[in-house]
């Protein structure tokens, strides 16, 4: 598993608080039994009209094509636990998300996929979204070791990230199965001590 220390690229702003995972990916796409096609669907109903023509969502604007960083506001990813939401963003090209706050399950799902979810204050996010809109060619660098976001090579601001999430990403242990499996013996010991596991 790869260590994730830095993410570099252009940023795409998606504005608004409380953008739920139904808006990120409508439930009808959850009927597919693999994640393979999810990159086609992020924000589908906000991006396309009934005939499938783009309505001018940032994900379809040429200046944001190829962006790897997503700028969002408060409580991003609230609602359903569907991992299809971060899968769809990742498969579209997003490698890191900077926001004011994240819903818990969504942020956990992102970590499991190696996508950092880092937070900044409201005023900073307004500036970041404005910068991405005004100068969409801006190259950002998100450094997890220094907990800093750089634009065009200069330090722009510091961000927050949950320390255990940061550790998992920078040490390459964000895909947790290996860590958990290594403790199979200890797991069995805990199970043995729980009376309900043995049927009391």
């Amino acid at each position: 598993m790869s260590k994730i220390n830095q993410i570099e690229g252009k940023a795409v702003p998606v504005e608004g608080n409380d953008i739920d995972t139904d808006r990120i990916i409508p439930a009808r796409y959850l009927k597919e039994i693999t994640f393979t096609n999810m990159g086609k669907y992020p924000f589908y109903d906000e991006r396309f009209d009934a005939e499938g023509k783009p309505k001018g969502h940032p994900f379809d604007l040429p200046q944001f094509a190829g962006s790897h960083i997503l700028f969002v506001n408060q409580n991003f990813g609230c609602g359903s636990s569907r991992e299809h939401a971060p899968q769809s963003l990742m498969r579209w090209g997003i490698r890191a998300i900077v926001g004011e706050s994240f819903a818990e399950i969504f942020a956990g799902n992102c970590t499991m996929l190696g996508i950092p979810t880092v937070t900044v204050g409201r005023a900073d996010m307004e500036k970041l979204q404005a910068l991405a809109k005004q100068k969409p060619e801006t190259q950002f660098l998100l450094d997890l070791d220094k907990k800093a976001l750089y634009s065009e090579g200069k330090e722009h601001l510091k961000f927050e990230i949950h320390e255990s999430k940061r550790n998992a990403l920078v040490n390459g242990t964000w895909d947790s199965t290996g860590l958990l499996l290594a403790n199979a013996g200890k797991t069995a010991d805990v199970a043995k001590k729980l009376p309900y596991v043995a049927g009391f």
Binding site: N17, D18, R28, K31, T34, G79, L180, F200
Partner: protein
């Protein structure tokens, strides 16, 4: 840091190790799976050559994609049929118990766990569904998880987790007649906001919860996640133990006293320390309806819709979007808003007591000609019990459709969907844009009795006036 709470005790009993990342490895006592979020997880463990580590602690059912008009196979929707085939194959291959249509125990995953006695105090529970918080009603820590975490639980029976803070949410006093558990949960979300619970587990308590039945407690815990709290719970008490006695997977009667003592040991101590405490007065709560696109955008049914100027600057955009999407006006009453669809069901309000409350309103009345109304029992057991009491006849005579068990129009991954701009009065949990199957569709959340009242009046109504 919270101390001496149920959260702390259940957590401590299930910690396997502190991981190098700083997260904790937590043993999961009960893993519930369903057809939508599990196929990719099974593929991942197959790819890694792994097995299901504790198949005897894993239970499966089907709920999200199943049609509610007929459970006959093959389903008309090819994708749904394929998804059904995938879970059938996976449970067979990995030796997981499966509550399928033939079992008589099929239903919404958060309804079948409790009704079969699988959900027990002091457990950790995980399921690839955000409404897993429902199971907290029994004094469990129940986590909604994503598919890659479902893979981890399948492969190891564990999750890598960060500890939460604990907020005690007290509701004391007495509820007014006509005010239900759904109104209590919508009220708490209205007051604390959809983001208020981020980073917290909610411990619900106070005399209102002490007096609640298990089904009422489940309704509140179900929507903890709508307030941002991944986990919500109520301490186990005599109501909990009485509910569990004699259920299919409940411990045997000869061990009962020992088991109850064990369960009681998890309840928060009298001098437990919480990270935060909030107090509400049950007598302040009215029947509540949502008016917007997040579950905290709600008012009492007799209130006027709030002016945009009442909201903080950073909420204005969401509020304006909500008014535009809903086509409602600040300052206008919500009562009297015409509806097109009435939906009674879901993991929030698809249990027997919910159907009884709605049937009291439906009895001897007729659904408005302008409304498409249907009742979807949460499980095959709920359906059978309701039919035994004749609730199905009350509903069909009033003009409601009576359906098979499933998630139905709560999330519209099945044929039950809104069309175009239709507005639904819904007993479910989310009023998000597009949630009920049409990107332009509109949802007003309320209690099952209030949905029945709206169905009969053809518009948003105060159930207390309809029953007069």
């Amino acid at each position: 840091m919270a101390k001496g709470t149920l959260y702390n005790k259940v957590w401590d009993a299930h910690v396997v190790d502190k991981l190098p990342t700083g997260q904790y490895q937590l043993f999961i006592g009960l893993h519930l799976i369903h057809e939508v979020t599990s196929p990719q997880a099974f593929d991942m463990i197959k790819e890694k050559g792994l097995k299901v580590a504790y198949p005897q602690r894993t239970f499966a059912t089907v709920d999200h994609i199943v049609p509610t008009q007929s459970q006959a196979r093959p389903f008309q929707d090819n994708e749904a049929e394929q998804m059904m085939g995938a879970i059938e194959k996976n449970v067979r291959e990995f030796g997981v118990s499966f509550f399928d249509f033939k079992s008589g125990n099929q239903g919404i995953v958060h309804i079948i766990g409790p009704e079969n006695g699988l959900t027990q105090p002091g457990m950790t529970i995980a399921c690839g569904d955000s409404h897993t918080s429902t199971h907290g009603a029994f004094g469990t820590l129940a986590f909604g998880i994503g598919t890659t975490q479902v893979r981890d639980v399948l492969a190891t029976q564990c999750l890598a987790m960060d500890a939460l803070k604990v907020r005690r949410v007290n509701v004391n006093g007495r509820l007014k007649p006509g005010v239900t558990a759904k109104d209590v949960t919508l009220y708490i979300i209205q007051k604390l906001g959809v983001k208020g619970g981020i980073g917290y587990a909610y411990e619900y308590g106070g005399s209102v919860f002490d007096n609640f039945t298990m089904e009422e407690r489940m309704t509140v815990c179900n929507m903890a996640i709508e307030g941002g709290a991944r986990v919500g719970y109520v301490n186990p008490d005599q109501t909990t133990f009485d509910y569990l006695k004699g259920r299919k997977f409940s411990p045997a009667a000869d061990k009962w006293d020992k088991v109850v003592a064990y369960w009681k040991s998890f309840a928060s101590d009298k001098d437990a320390v919480f990270d935060d405490v909030v107090d509400f007065n049950g007598g302040d709560i009215e029947p509540i309806v949502t008016w917007g696109i997040t579950p905290d955008q709600s008012v009492g049914v007799n209130d006027k819709l709030p002016e945009v100027s009442k909201f903080s600057a950073d909420e204005v955009k969401t509020v304006e979007l909500a008014y535009k999407h809903m086509d409602l006006k600040p300052g206008a009453p919500i009562k009297g808003t015409p509806i097109n669809v009435a939906f009674i069901g879901s993991c929030t309000n698809g249990r027997l007591s919910d159907l009884r409350e709605a049937a009291k309103v439906a009895k001897g009345r007729k659904v408005s000609k302008t409304v498409r109304a249907f009742v979807v029992p949460g499980s095959q057991q709920v359906k059978a019990a309701a039919e035994k009491e004749g609730l199905d006849k009350i509903f069909t005579e009033a003009g409601f459709e009576w359906r098979e068990a499933g998630c139905s129009m709560c999330l519209a991954m099945n044929p039950d969907k809104l069309k175009g701009r239709e507005l639904s009065a819904s007993s479910s949990n989310r009023n998000f844009i597009g949630r009920q199957g049409s990107k332009d569709g509109r949802t007003i959340l309320m209690s099952p009795a209030m949905v029945a009242a709206a169905a009969i009046e053809g518009k948003i109504a105060d159930v207390r006036e309809v029953l007069k």
